[in-house]
């Protein structure tokens, strides 16, 4: 039982990080191979704030998000103005640099040997709560002028600029939000595992996150969620797979983008409307009708809509 709880908790941790990457890459079109750095920053910040300074867990979470977002500002401000390829390379460089700095952090970070003694705070219910809030927040952001701006930037940055969108500012915003999510994920991770090592946040971790988003579908939050659940569960459930899981991530990345670039779900989103249809056969119909009525959703056109019109 504890094992399944553990798996579920890890799913929640990964979900937080993956949602961030989904926003950045899937919705805003910015590809980054160094996102694990923000998870690391969040994890270590929270570990220090809660473990060494004795602050409550909530403060740790907030500090993690803030630290990661701040780091993203520092790195993002000079590098986001670069065209696609260059930014991805810079992000990769930043990811590796962060790991190196943590490795050499001496007493502050515990160096390569690790940071032990992180207080355990992440129970399953807390993790689920945080993730649920995270999902709701992300959906709200995406279904607003902010989400529309992000997607416009992804589709055609020049045109978005011509339509009055300050693309530099919004790209920075997307990066900061996605970093904050990864930071929170990192904090959850730190207080679940109770020890940290820089190698946990290496290129493999960044790849894992990127592969999940690509596999689930660039531009679908639901896809990212589904892919995350699948790609976290399968290696856990099928232990022999575990050794090959990184092989699989690499393969997933290539084959998805070559064979089926839209991933599992394309831009399909599970909305309350669609949920309603599924549930309408249920006796719980009445409750859902009340809930769903407040949303201004569009009609069910074919294919997916990332902005709900």
């Amino acid at each position: 039982m504890a094992y399944y709880q553990g798996v579920l908790t890890i799913i929640c941790v990964n979900l937080m990080c993956v949602m961030g990457v989904s926003l950045l890459t899937g919705f805003t079109g910015i590809f980054s191979f160094g996102h694990a750095a923000y998870m690391a920053i969040g994890a270590y910040t929270s570990a220090i704030v809660v473990g060494r300074l004795g602050m409550p867990f909530v403060i740790g979470l907030i500090a993690a998000a803030a630290a990661a977002a701040l780091a993203s500002f520092v790195i993002g401000y000079p590098t986001l103005k670069l065209v696609g390829d260059y930014f991805a390379i810079a992000a990769l460089g930043f990811g590796e640099a962060t790991r190196l700095i943590l490795d050499n952090g001496g007493d502050i970070t515990g160096g390569a040997r690790g940071f032990v003694g992180v207080p355990k705070h992440t129970t399953l219910s807390i993790a689920l709560l945080i993730v649920a809030l995270g999902v709701v927040l992300m959906r709200n952001i995406l279904n607003s002028r902010f989400g529309r701006s992000f997607v416009a930037i992804r589709e055609d940055r020049l045109a978005a600029e011509a339509m009055g969108i300050d693309t530099s500012r919004f790209r920075m915003m997307a990066l900061a939000i996605s970093a904050a999510y990864a930071g929170v994920g990192g904090s959850m991770f730190a207080h679940y595992l109770t020890y940290l090592q820089p190698v946990m946040f290496d290129l493999n971790k960044s790849t894992e996150m990127a592969a999940t988003v690509v596999f689930g579908g660039l531009g679908s939050l639901t896809g990212s969620v589904v892919a995350c659940v699948l790609l976290t569960t399968i290696p856990e459930v099928f232990r022999p797979f575990y050794l090959w899981r990184m092989v699989f991530y690499g393969l997933a990345l290539v084959s998805t983008i070559v064979l089926r670039p839209q991933g599992l779900l394309g831009t399909y989103e599970l909305t309350f409307e669609r949920l309603k249809k599924v549930v309408s056969a249920c006796p719980l119909k009445a409750r859902f009708d009340r809930r769903g009525g407040g949303l201004t959703g569009g009609p069910e056109s074919g294919g997916g809509r990332s902005c709900r019109y």
Binding site: G29, F31, F33, P78, T79, L82, G84, D85, Y86, A88, I89, A90, L92, G93, F94, E96, A97, L100, I101, N104, L158, L203, N204, T207, A210, A211, V214, L243, W244, M246, V247, Y249, G250, L251, A252, L253, V254, S255, I257, V258, L259, P261
Partner: protein
């Protein structure tokens, strides 16, 4: 004797820089044609390194033969990669983003497959090229480094000749300006791209063999290509002379920092250089930065 130390590091830097140059040139070549960063370049390197290792330890070929085979294998791997992964993306006119994703996927797949099958243990090349060194004045030069430097120079000169004097070379130059136009002018684009990848793969495989001999062979050997990437960007993505210059300079700077400062700083320095270049002059020393047409 500071001067002797300086000269020594200069020599070291030159030696590692020439290996970087082999990698960076291939990488820059691919970038100039297809306008994307081939993150899978490290895989070609690793394939070359491992193939060379296995053939030279297992088979009774003369060493040169093993190297040739290893290098060829890497070249073939590159061509296959292009054919299987990049061509479909190119033909579908997908955004450049997809190339990056695919190349990264291949890099991870390759590295992890090696770890899962062959194992992460370090492998050492047989002592074919003597590890002895000789003294050139105050400087100690390893024979192997000299060979690497010599062969690298020869390769680069041959490549330069090929690009600037042969028909195929002209076609490559044309394609680096405008792939579509070159195709319309009758250039066999698919064949040309295949050739470019073959060349890049061969160069990467060669550098892999050298690195394998100089250090050891391990799955993460491909990570060294990141440094070559930085060198290529520093010298100017898309410019072959730039890649060479950038690599030499980077190699030398690395050697100096490693020796005179903190060796851990070496890698951080590389990343700092990357950020600095991207901020100050993204087109590098000799590169061309193409404006997007509105």
């Amino acid at each position: 004797m500071v001067l002797s130390r300086v000269l020594q590091q200069l020599m070291n830097g030159l030696s590692i820089g020439s290996i970087y140059a082999l990698i960076a040139v291939g990488y820059s070549l691919i970038y100039s044609i297809l306008q994307f960063s081939n993150f899978a370049h490290g895989s070609f390197l690793v394939i070359g390194a491992y193939t060379g290792f296995f053939i030279s330890t297992a088979a009774s070929l003369p060493f040169a033969g093993s190297v040739a085979l290893a290098v060829l294998t890497a070249g073939v791997a590159a061509v296959v990669t292009e054919r299987v992964a990049y061509r479909p993306i190119r033909e579908r006119n997908s955004p450049t983003l997809y190339f990056i994703i695919a190349s990264m996927g291949i890099a991870i797949f390759c590295e992890q497959t090696i770890i899962a099958t062959i194992g992460p243990k370090f492998r050492t090349y047989p002592r074919i090229l003597s590890t002895t060194s000789f003294n050139l004045g105050p400087v100690t030069v390893a024979i192997m480094d000299l060979w690497a430097l010599a062969i690298a120079c020869v390769c680069l000169v041959v490549l330069q000749y090929f690009i600037s004097r042969t028909r195929m070379g002209f076609a490559i130059q044309a394609a680096s300006f405008d792939l579509q136009a070159a195709g319309l002018m009758g250039v066999n684009v698919n064949g040309l791209i295949g050739l470019v990848f073959l060349i890049a793969g061969i160069l990467a495989g060669l550098s892999g063999v050298f690195l394998g001999m100089k250090y050891t062979v391990y799955p993460q050997l491909g990570y060294l290509t990141i440094k070559a990437f930085v060198a290529a960007i520093f010298g100017g993505l898309g410019s072959l002379p730039g890649a060479i210059v950038g690599s030499i300079v980077l190699g030398v700077l690395e050697a100096f920092i490693s020796a005179f400062l903190w060796s851990q700083m070496r890698d951080l320095f590389v990343f700092a250089l990357l950020i600095a270049v991207l901020l100050v002059k993204p087109s590098g020393l000799m590169g061309k930065y193409v404006e997007e047409k509105v």
